[in-house]
């Protein structure tokens, strides 16, 4: 490329930005106008970015006194009708769980970023891990639905952050963006288009006469219309089990009815929710299932393995919860073996085992802060393929 | 104490009317000035004390005002004469009682000399909160019901003067006390010019003019009153026209929501008139409606919002009285 070309061509907005930076930009593009957070490595860059960017668009940034206050303020802002975000890492994510349950139960849209680092407890603050896969799904008590998205690149963080807001709004649910320290602090060249004319998804607002409005009576899509404070509906929002009218109840029928709807409400939106990527799966004898940095390593491992004559494919859930299980089943049907490399002691493996029933699922687990390398995955895939072949020919 | 009674021997019995000059020759002149906090009682007594001192009298002044702030009782004793022993005026010994508030004036009447005492009183009514203790519908306030004419019977010489309104008309309600000084000046024989001098020393500079006007107004009013009759306000006199504080006529009705009552007994036990009770179902009811004053304490203290007090306005007082007993 010569100098004249670069000067004349409309410059594509190629930028070298980090994952956390992309998250902040994606949130703004999605219409997020409120951020509350508490400093924690390795997610603080999101807060730092938004503390500068939000005032520029008449939004609010506030650093709260602790992790719990941050998620509470975010839910509070969303109850006021404003799209809101918080970002944290494992220890903070644990602290937020009770209130994430509140947002799920009271159906308040919000987005929570969890940049995974080593654990348990304080763990390894600057080293990556993927140990919050189960916490993201089951961290709060009781039964509740939640959407968890697991982007694997800077570009994808940007896109999935926007999708997180859209899903939070349409499904009135908390959405967790789950990615590891590597992706968070990795800077990659990405091309970001102009999003100023992007159609933004807003939650369904209550309309019609107040007397007829039931805050938790759902339409056929399973999602109730939300009332905006000041619009005259004056409803009650509670973390207690409630009836369609929003008021607490312990009536078994009423609780079963509302909670039953809540627990199945995402089912009707799976088309919009589910997202995954497959690479070389059509003829794969070894299927690798991975997310985040492990999936990036697996991508490269596919090439290495194929060069050695091992037909490996990758299934990468982008929506981690609810898990795109139908898609996985279809892809896995043709594979002889399934390999799940992940930076934990076996969380994704557990879910893959559950979905694939009796199929042999081989976990590849590492929790020392070092990402699994492409070569390691390729070698494991090769030995798996050989073992599977040996078993079949025996 | 014996000293004051010993000095009694020097009384000039011919002197019926108190006068400053006479005070030189006999026992001290006793002037009691009363009112409520904020009216300027102390200023009146200071001006008088200063004037008497400037005329060579020994002056003793004592006052109580510390707790009064705004609205509480304030009184000041001013005694002057050739020699003054005690700073306070005993009951029945005041030569002149100057009251800046009507009920305060009546309260201090027993201090006035029964035979010769002169009563100068503003008809201004300041109703204290505790005068409202009886809240029965149509019931009068516990404020003096005496008319100026009735007061006449109790005093040798009395002037009920609507000083506050006169001062208001001058453009400064706060000069009411100076109107009364003007009145006082007519019963003490200090020259008017000296009074004005004293006043000028005691009022804020920019209010000197209005205060001097108030002084003259008070003086002239007494002169005019003297020409008609000694006890001032008859028909047409300002005080007679003062309406009693408006009493809104109403009847009380308690709206009780029995389903909300939880029988906590707070309303029953804390009702000042003890007119509520819990019925057989342990639900509050108004047992003695005739005693209910509509004070709302039950409504305010009910934790369950089970009581609502309605004060239904009635056409007139008679109807109000009827409503109360109904």
């Amino acid at each position: 490329m010569n100098a004249v070309d670069t000067a004349l061509a409309p410059k594509p907005a190629v930028r070298l930005i980090s994952g956390n930076h992309a998250c902040a930009l994606g949130a703004l593009a999605a219409g997020c106008r409120f951020f509350a957070g508490y400093p924690i490595t390795p997610s603080s860059e999101i807060a730092e970015r938004l503390s500068r960017l939000l005032p520029e668009v008449d939004g609010v940034f506030v650093q709260m006194e602790d992790e719990i206050a941050s998620i509470a303020a975010v839910i509070g802002a969303s109850m006021g009708g404003v799209k809101a975000l918080t970002a944290t890492s494992g220890p903070g994510f644990s602290l937020k769980q009770e209130n994430i349950g509140y947002a799920a139960g009271a159906e308040i849209p919000c987005v929570i970023v969890n940049v995974m680092r080593g654990g348990p407890s304080t763990g390894m603050p600057t080293r990556p891990a993927q140990g919050d896969i189960m916490q993201a799904r089951w961290g709060s008590h009781g039964d509740y639905p939640i959407v968890v998205l697991a982007p694997a690149s800077v570009r994808e963080i940007y896109d999935e952050t926007m999708r997180a807001f859209d899903l939070a709004e349409t499904c009135r649910t908390p959405v967790v963006l789950l990615y590891d320290q590597v992706i968070a602090q990795l800077a990659e060249t990405v091309e970001l288009g102009d999003t100023s004319d992007l159609a933004r998804t807003e939650r369904k607002w209550a309309s019609g006469p107040r007397a007829a409005y039931q805050p938790y009576a759902a339409d056929e899509d399973g999602i109730p219309a939300m009332s905006r404070p000041g619009a005259g509906y004056r409803v009650h929002t509670t973390g207690l089990n409630h009836a369609e009218n929003g008021f607490p109840t312990q009536n078994p029928e009423a609780v079963a009815r509302n909670l039953g709807r809540l627990l199945t409400k995402l089912d009707r939106h799976r088309d919009a929710i589910d997202s995954w990527q497959t690479i070389n799966c059509d003829d794969a004898e070894v299927l690798i299932v991975a997310i985040g940095i492990s999936a990036r390593a697996a991508t490269r491992a596919l090439d290495i393995a194929r060069a050695r004559g091992v037909r490996a494919g990758l299934f990468r859930p982008i929506t981690l919860w609810p898990f795109p299980e139908t898609a996985l089943r279809e892809v896995a049907a043709r594979a002889r073996a399934v390999l799940v490399p992940e930076m934990n002691a076996g969380q994704l493996s557990l879910e893959v085992e559950r979905i694939l029933g009796g199929k042999r699922v081989e976990g590849m687990h590492r929790f020392n802060g070092e990402p699994i390398t492409p070569a390691e995955i390729a070698a494991r895939a090769e030995s798996l393929a050989k073992a599977a072949l040996a078993k079949e020919t025996r | 104490m014996s000293a004051p009674s010993a000095s009694r021997s020097g009384i000039d019995d011919e002197q019926l009317r108190p006068s400053a000059t006479a005070a030189k020759a006999r026992e001290p002149m006793n002037v009691l000035i009363v009112g409520v906090g904020g009216q300027g009682v102390i200023m009146v007594s200071k001006a008088l004390a200063w004037l008497a001192q400037s005329k060579g009298f020994e002056v003793k002044q004592s006052e109580v005002h510390g707790m009064a702030k705004r609205g509480g009782t304030v009184f000041s004793h001013v005694r002057f004469g050739p020699q003054v022993w005690s700073p306070t005026i005993p009951k029945g010994e005041a030569d002149i009682l100057v009251a800046l508030e009507w009920a305060e004036g009546l309260r201090w009447l027993p201090f006035l000399k029964p035979d010769t005492g002169i009563f100068i009183c503003d008809t201004k009514r300041i109703v204290p909160p505790f005068a409202c203790l009886n809240r029965r519908p149509g019931a009068p306030l516990r404020y003096s019901r005496e008319t100026p004419a009735e007061v006449k019977a109790h005093v040798a010489e009395g002037y009920a003067i609507d000083a506050t309104r006169m001062a208001e008309e001058l453009g400064n309600e706060r000069a009411a006390n100076v109107v009364l000084i003007g009145a006082l000046s007519t019963v003490l024989d200090f020259p008017a010019a000296d009074w004005e001098l004293a006043l000028s020393a005691f009022v804020p500079k920019k209010t000197i003019a209005v205060n001097l006007d108030a002084f003259r107004l008070g003086r002239n009013w007494i002169d005019a009153a003297r020409r008609t009759t000694t006890v001032a306000p008859e028909a047409g006199a300002p005080a007679a026209n003062i309406p009693a504080p408006a009493l809104v006529a109403y009847s009380v009705r308690l709206e009780i929501t029995p389903q909300w009552c939880k029988s906590c007994d707070i309303c029953v036990k804390l009702c000042p008139e003890r007119c509520l009770r819990l019925n057989d179902e342990r639900i509050v009811e108004l047992a003695q409606p005739e005693r209910c004053t509509g004070c709302r304490l039950c409504e305010l203290l009910c934790p369950d919002f089970a009581i609502r007090v309605h004060l239904d306005a009635v056409a007139n007082n008679a109807a109000a009285a009827q409503g109360a007993t109904a």
Binding site: T41, V182, E188, T189, T299, R300, A307, T373, P374, A375 | -
Partner: protein, 189 residues
């Protein structure tokens, strides 16, 4: 296997500005249309401790963004040797600071010992050793246009340090150009 892949590591200790200079290089490469992934490893302490910043450069999208086989290694502290040495590609080029990283282990690589930090001190601040290193690396690796790198340095430098940083970059280039003509040590340095 699509492999235009080039891997660069700048290793040293926290506070040396390794991430910043890696970012400048990445910016320059991105401006030239390359796909770049810049990652970092650091310790929880704000200053001191092992730290590195890696660049993976590719004509297409970078699949695995972390270093697997280093083409270039810049060493600003001996602390960075142990974690980086096993990652060196056979025949990789190592640029090491003469003062801070005097001894290198055995291995199949080409090494240049350059007075990066001393040059920085002579320029007025040891803190620009990272920029000197960047210049030397760019000269030796011939990985991007000098003009683009200068632009990236300008963009990421506060006005008050601009002259110093540009001087440091030029000094680094000089060191690198001199090293090209001088023979590199092919065995233990």
């Amino acid at each position: 296997m699509r492999d235009s892949r080039v891997e660069i590591r700048i290793g040293g200790t926290g506070g040396q500005g390794l991430i910043l200079c890696a970012k400048m290089l990445a910016d320059a490469l991105a401006a030239a249309g390359k796909h770049v992934a810049q990652s970092q490893t650091y310790e929880p302490t704000s200053r001191g401790g092992y730290c590195n910043s890696d660049l993976v450069i590719s004509d297409g999208e970078v699949d695995f963004p972390l270093a697997t086989a280093l083409d270039w290694l810049v060493l600003l502290d001996r602390l960075a040797i142990r974690p980086s040495w096993p990652l060196l590609k056979p025949g990789a080029l190592v640029i090491a600071d003469t003062r801070l990283c005097p001894d290198l282990p055995e291995g199949d690589r080409r090494a240049h010992h350059l007075p990066l930090s001393r040059t920085a001190i002579e320029l007025g601040s040891e803190r620009v050793a990272n920029i000197v290193a960047l210049g030397a690396l760019a000269a030796l690796a011939e990985i991007c246009e000098r003009r683009a790198l200068e632009q990236a340095v300008r963009a990421d430098t506060p006005r008050s340090f601009l002259d110093l940083n540009l001087d440091a970059l030029a000094a680094g280039y000089r060191l690198g150009e001199q090293a090209i003509t001088a023979p590199s040590s092919t065995s233990a340095g």
